[in-house]
Symmetry: C2
């Protein structure tokens, strides 16, 4: 294993046991630290995150939580890495109490239809309006490049990677101990740089659960790809959101759970 140090990994002395052999060795651990978000001067929430791209994380999280709708809603974002604090000021005032009430918990209304529709009701996102066609080979090629780029994962085994891809290359790449954080960094980065999600897809090392699908849907992301598994609720939501959901994308294989119309698989020559 090539133990190259990245910003997000920390050198530590640990005890390694292998059979009857015990060694004190230096190893790299993924860094985890609290990042407290202040919104318009008011303490809001503390995220546990890996160092790097904190500003993007803050912006992406604000977007995912429905606090901002576009980059232009922000007045300023100030970050103090020493105290682990981000101060965000928005142009318009935000009723945090009302926003939190609606967003922090996935509230299920009682007695109105099935659980599944209750979850859908809590969605603020509309079905994805972005039809495109990608060759399966491009999806798998990006996944291969993505694995090569996931240095921190290979080094520490403790971090999730997330990438924004198109047919030609990996456009954005971020890592974090939280798979939600990694996606928020991508979203925040795209918003900050004015990068459109049209015709692109998001690649994650994490499992495809309902929350990841909802987060992607909020940002009108048309395709989510993972080398891991999907839950049944994630598949249901992806279908409702007209999103392509692909799991176990490894080597020459993938499972397409939803939205297979966006994947072109050429017949064998």
């Amino acid at each position: 294993m090539n133990s190259m140090k990245t910003d997000s990994s920390i050198k530590r002395e640990i005890t390694k046991m292998d059979g009857h052999e015990i060694k004190q060795v230096t190893d790299f651990l993924v860094n985890e630290r609290p990042l407290t978000l202040f919104l318009n001067g008011q303490e809001w929430i503390t995220l546990l995150t890996s160092m790097g791209a904190e500003t993007y994380l803050a912006i992406g999280f604000l977007y995912s939580e429905g606090i901002i709708r576009q980059y232009d809603d922000l007045k300023s974002v100030e970050i103090d890495l020493e105290s682990g604090q981000v101060d965000v000021t928005t142009k318009k005032n935000v009723d945090l109490q009302a926003k939190l009430k609606g967003k922090r918990t996935l509230t299920t209304g009682c007695g109105k239809g099935t659980v599944f529709y209750d979850v859908l009701d809590s969605l603020t996102s509309k079905p994805v309006n972005d039809e495109f066609l990608v060759e399966a080979s491009s999806i798998l090629q990006r996944s291969k490049e993505f694995n090569q780029q996931s240095l921190l994962f290979r080094e520490t085994g403790g971090v999730h990677g997330c990438a924004l891809c198109d047919e030609n290359s990996i456009v954005l790449f971020h890592e974090d101990i939280g798979r939600h954080n990694a996606l928020d960094k991508i979203i925040g980065h795209a918003l900050s740089d004015g990068i459109s999600m049209k015709g692109k897809w998001v690649l994650t090392t994490g499992r495809l659960s309902s929350e990841i699908v909802i987060k992607a849907g909020n940002h009108q992301i048309g395709m989510l790809v993972s080398r891991s598994a999907a839950t049944d609720l994630a598949v249901d939501l992806a279908q409702q959101l007209n999103m392509t959901l692909i799991g176990f994308a490894r080597g020459n294989r993938m499972n397409i759970y939803s939205g297979s119309q966006r994947v072109f698989i050429p017949p064998k020559e």
Copy 2:
């Protein structure tokens, strides 16, 4: 792969691609559904969980959030699986607003010491007061049995397993899409059945991050073992909490990050 159906996996039709071959096949997906907790008649929070052991999850979550301190604090726990609702009544009244304010976010005080100590300040748990000695071979043997028992993981690839172990056997075993939920099911089960944590350890498939260490610390669990990685903050907290933290427990190997005094490694004969 042996595709035995468990309660927590759901049969679905999916599109499998392998090279140029496309097939419509039946696959098993891990089940994810919202479970809404009502506390003394008031809607509290919705957890996204896999089916199974919902009562234990609710009790463990209540404990982890500091709502109850012992099983005896509960008056009743009623579960309606169709609506995905758990109604918990406690003997004493609970000021949910105050509890939530203190617990839902890891608040970091400003300007008083390092980030690390701020996180520690938010801990309600005391250092673990449970000294015991386990042979490394027992830890690895339980991990081996644990992997064999993780049926749902092998089947769907999408779920975390968690077990309570002692030197002789796996005492409790639960699975969930969330690694926090899986540990809460173990804690809830142990509380319900009056099973002591003394001299036992918790095994998880998930990464060892600060939140898992805090959750275990709240329940005075002396040892946490994972086949995955640990973060640096998890190690710092485990050291402060006098907890043994072991990662990458696979085959004959393990990394001991903290509390190595509880692990006995006999010299080679």
